[in-house]
């Protein structure tokens, strides 16, 4: 296959077929001022030249920087099996598996993915993935409106601010309302959340570990929400599920999250995938596709897209959701990642994240003038209070090759000196010690 789609001969043949003398004449109906003057592209180059250019570009935009950044997207190790298996042509080229007779491999993979998500979240039913973590939270909010036939969702202030913005965006224009409840320092203000629940509330949306890194137990909140026949939606960080109580164990009705940590590379914001799981009784309100296990007419095990009657190609405007593309390949990477690690490996991975972050929390908290803001438990992220503007400190450390964290001022006015630091299993003790030394230097010299 040629990499240049149209050769001069192709262009000549096509123009002859439609009776145009030149490309210029073909585009003549478009007014000249609306047409591109130039695409400003350099001439073609050889593969070798191209590779050299790409390496230079990569070096100039952050490759080689040690990241302590999280905020919803994390730098985790990806076993080689993930790239290898996910790039097999059978998976890589497959499209929507509407025809089960020729898509058994894809369907089985998605079915196993759903099973994995159910085990991680402690819930009973999962779909076969959504766009990303933010749309997953928004879809969960919409689910709660449909299930309860109510119009108010309560959004905790420690939920990822980008996800909260997506939720309010989704609700804008519907007769629904998102009520924001400010957090108490780095933790959800459980008393205020509980006091906000009334008989108009469809759901309370919380996150653990939250945007500040704090891990919280929402059992009481679940109970109070259920007392008002409202739902509890918990956004969770999948790696943390190897160590902390799952949303299901805490009584959540819907669990959501960003799946990037499960085997997907950091990639300028995507493509990633969102996961969503719920109780069996709400399965007809789940958005997107669900793969089910069945038997064919000879009794052999097989997989199909199931419950299609709630989807948009049959139910039109009354569909559960009009989200019609998922992120199958990213979800498949998530499955292969989890399957590669196994239950024990997954627990060890979570423990490693926790232990390294605990070390970092103590070392960084000991830097002069620095204070850890989280009062209670954290997983692999925590919030520091600095004696200087956090964004400026981060910029100084970037020049030394370290991305120190996410400054909170851009999301929480008044928290300009707060910095969320993330430590995954990939960070070494040396890297953490170096971060502490550089921080000390940036603050005091």
């Amino acid at each position: 296959m040629g990499y240049s789609p149209n050769t001069p001969d192709d262009i000549r043949d096509m123009l002859a077929a439609i009776g145009a003398a030149s490309v210029e004449e073909l585009f003549a109906p478009i007014p000249a001022q609306l047409r591109a003057k130039s695409f400003d592209l350099p001439p073609g180059m050889s593969e070798l030249e191209l590779m050299r250019l790409m390496r230079e570009k990569a070096a100039s935009c952050g490759a080689g920087i040690t990241p302590f950044i999280g905020g919803g997207i994390y730098d985790h190790f990806i076993p080689a099996a993930v790239d290898h298996l996910a790039s097999r042509a059978e998976f890589y080229t497959a499209y929507t598996p509407y025809q089960p007779e020729c898509a058994q491999g894809t369907l089985q993979a998605l079915y196993e993915y759903q099973t994995t998500i159910c085990r991680l979240t402690g819930l009973e039913a999962s779909n076969a993935s959504l766009y990303d973590g933010g749309t997953a939270v928004a879809e969960a909010a919409l689910m709660s409106l449909r299930i309860t036939d109510r119009h108010k969702v309560i959004l905790d202030g420690s939920v990822n601010p980008l996800h909260r913005e997506i939720v309010t965006g989704y609700l804008h224009g519907l007769s629904a309302q998102a009520v924001q409840v400010a957090s108490d320092g780095c933790a959800s203000d459980l008393a205020r959340l509980i006091a906000s629940i009334d008989d108009e509330t469809a759901a309370v949306i919380v996150q653990s570990p939250n945007f500040f890194g704090s891990v919280q137990d929402f059992r009481e909140l679940a109970q109070k929400a259920h007392d008002h026949e409202a739902l509890l939606i918990v956004s969770c960080y999948p790696i943390a599920m190897g160590l902390v109580a799952s949303p299901g164990e805490m009584g959540a009705d819907i669990a959501v999250g960003e799946g990037q940590s499960l085997g997907n590379h950091l990639s300028f914001g995507g493509p990633y995938f969102g996961f969503i799981a719920t109780r069996k009784r709400f399965i007809r309100n789940l958005p997107g596709r669900i793969v089910g296990e069945t038997v064919d007419h000879q009794g052999r095990r097989g997989f199909v897209l199931t419950l299609q009657a709630r989807e948009q190609h049959i139910k039109r405007h009354k569909a559960t959701s009009n989200i019609c593309s998922n992120q199958s390949l990213c979800a498949l990477r998530g499955l292969i990642f989890c399957a590669s690690l196994g239950r024990k490996g997954f627990e060890e991975l979570a423990r490693l994240n926790y232990d390294k972050a605990q070390y970092a929390r103590s070392v960084l908290g000991a830097v002069r003038g620095v204070e850890v803001l989280n009062a209670g438990a954290t997983f692999n992220e925590f919030t520091l209070s600095l004696p200087k503007d956090a964004a400026e400190v981060v910029q100084r450390l970037l020049d030394k090759g370290v991305a120190a964290g996410v400054p909170l001022g851009q999301y929480y006015p008044g928290m300009e000196r707060a910095l969320v630091v993330t430590v995954t299993e990939k960070r070494t003790r040396d890297e953490i010690d170096r971060l502490a030394a550089l921080l000390e230097e940036a603050l005091w010299s």
């Binding site: 007809r284 299609q308 009657a309 709630r310 049959i314 139910k315 009354k318």
Partner: protein, 123 residues
């Protein structure tokens, strides 16, 4: 008690101010294997011919319209576990819900048994 039918194949049987609603045997047969009935919420008020509930078969989803105006007083919980009751007994055990506060004057907009049988012949 006499049954009345809509052009959309719902049936209704009125006793005083209360009416039992379902879909006709003809409709149940045409839909094929019914997999789910989305029952209305108790207390919901509907006007005649407004969407009341929804029914899903293997490959289709259809609205069920209210044959009479009224308020949902009771729903057939058995359909939650056994939607196939609608296939088996569409005009008896497969009833969908009961409406209260109905006005029997609205029956004049519906067909009786004979008229419905004639109507089906014309389809």
């Amino acid at each position: 008690m006499a049954k009345f039918y809509t052009k959309e194949h719902e049936w209704v049987e009125v006793a005083g101010a209360q009416a039992t609603v379902g879909i006709s045997e003809h409709a149940a047969h045409e839909l094929g294997d019914i997999t789910y009935v989305e029952l209305p919420k108790i207390g919901k008020s509907v006007k005649q011919f407004e969407a009341l509930a929804a029914i899903e078969s293997v490959k289709a989803a259809s609205d069920i319209y209210a044959p009479l105006s009224g308020k949902v007083a009771e729903v057939n919980q058995a359909l939650e576990e056994a939607p196939e009751l609608v296939n088996q007994w569409a005009e008896s055990e497969g009833w969908i819900c009961k409406l209260e506060g109905c006005d029997s004057a609205e029956l004049s907009a519906l067909m009786d048994d004979d008229a419905y049988t004639e109507y089906l012949k014309g389809l």
